[in-house]
Symmetry: C2
Subunit: 251 residues, 2 copies
């Protein structure tokens, strides 16, 4: 008997080492079809999915991401926000749609559409026995990715996803999430500073213990420390400029 989707979600962990077993075209098609059936805002369908097998293209994308698993995987997806077909309709109809898809609202709609589709792909792949990892790292150089993949205006590469059979030495390790009570608010948001800071402190201790146990005391880092280290430098400071160049958040 198959497991429930709830159980499947609880087993999720990112996989970064895959066996050298390419996905079949049939599996790729099923995964994309699963993605396409996710909800889409007002039927806009503002995305496309690029499936990459070509080793040269994978290598070029790896230069952007810096991650070996962009090359070594069973298959590589790149998920793009796509208003190009809407722009063609607009051109054909001599319409006035640009202000819609070039707005901040248009960007949010596109990003949400893409991510809903991608999570359908992820869960479907995991249900089939594959492992996946998301690759936000493709945003390290949006101009380069656009060049490699021939992305026209109004198409923005949001993230990639490597898929494949997990290698025997990478079964991943589930990362302990923020406790339910931190993420879930009843009826209204609880912005009580003291309460939230206490929650964070407890979570920090849990995460510290987790790392210490997993690494025999070699690593001892709280979640707060990770967040501060990561976010104290502005990541991808050029994204607004790149969005503008690709025709997003123009007005």
């Amino acid at each position: 008997m198959k497991q429930s989707v709830y159980d499947l979600t609880q087993q999720h962990r990112s996989i970064r080492n895959f066996k050298d077993e390419p996905l079949s075209d049939e599996v790729v098609k099923q995964l994309v079809e699963a993605g396409q059936m996710a909800s889409t805002s007002s039927y806009i369908q503002a995305y496309s999915i690029i499936g990459v097998r070509d080793p040269e293209i994978k290598k070029a994308l790896k230069e952007v991401s810096g991650q070996q698993y962009v090359v070594d995987n069973g298959y590589l997806f790149v998920y793009v926000i796509d208003y190009y077909r809407h722009s063609l309709i607009n051109e054909k109809e001599n319409g006035n749609m640009n202000t819609s898809f070039e707005s901040a609202e248009g960007l949010l709609v596109g990003a949400i559409d893409v991510a809903l589709a991608a999570e359908n792909v992820a869960l479907t792949a995991e249900d089939m026995g594959y492992g996946v990892v998301f690759l936000g790292s493709l945003r390290n150089d949006v101009a380069k990715v656009s060049e490699i993949l021939d992305l026209p205006e109004h198409v923005f590469p949001l993230f990639g996803m490597a898929v494949g059979i997990p290698s025997d030495n990478d079964q991943g390790s589930p990362k302990q999430r923020l406790p339910f009570e931190h993420v879930f608010h009843e009826n209204k948001y609880n912005a009580d500073k003291v309460a939230q800071l206490e929650q964070i402190e407890r979570y920090d201790k849990d995460i510290q213990n987790y790392y210490e146990q997993r690494t025999n005391g070699q690593r001892s880092e709280t979640w707060s420390e990770q967040i501060v280290n990561m976010m104290s430098q502005k990541t991808r400071p050029d994204i607004l400029e790149r969005l503008n160049q690709k025709g997003f958040i123009k007005k």
Copy 2:
């Protein structure tokens, strides 16, 4: 035997009429836990989920969305991008993190984190026999939603989701998506205008036939027409301003 996740995705349709059967707290908790296990960018966990049972709050949110099913459902979720806890860490550590979460990159990370979690909730709920509908309509008035839900700075309401047992007279109807070949590109994006316009024309005819059959010829609309009608007026023109007010895309 349970169905595969692939099969589950193919049966998805939005449900807008629910039976008067509230979800139990236990089911709500499971759904949120499913959401929490979705991938999150670099462990940032930039979201919170607000679960609404209070009829007064539902009613107030319905004023924003204009949709009766914001009130009449088994349960209502509101998904928010949440950097409030990161801002508290920043304050405590006297850090320099604002440029990160107030950037366009920070917004994208948050929107993606939220949507991945929400799609886990959607699929888990559907697997349990519930129906769901996403509510982008809450962005009609972000300031009002923020007031109703007490959202502090660095918390942005991205969308809602109504969940419940589908009523007997609403089993939904699956909307035919863009054909696989339109959405899927092999190795590189194919921006050939003539080819894409031909694809759109064929899809338009399919959609027109679909509506004509479903409505005995009373409705006859192509996808292009729907897109032009919807996008020719700028939807939610204030979103960039609202994002700025909530502390997003500041730099």
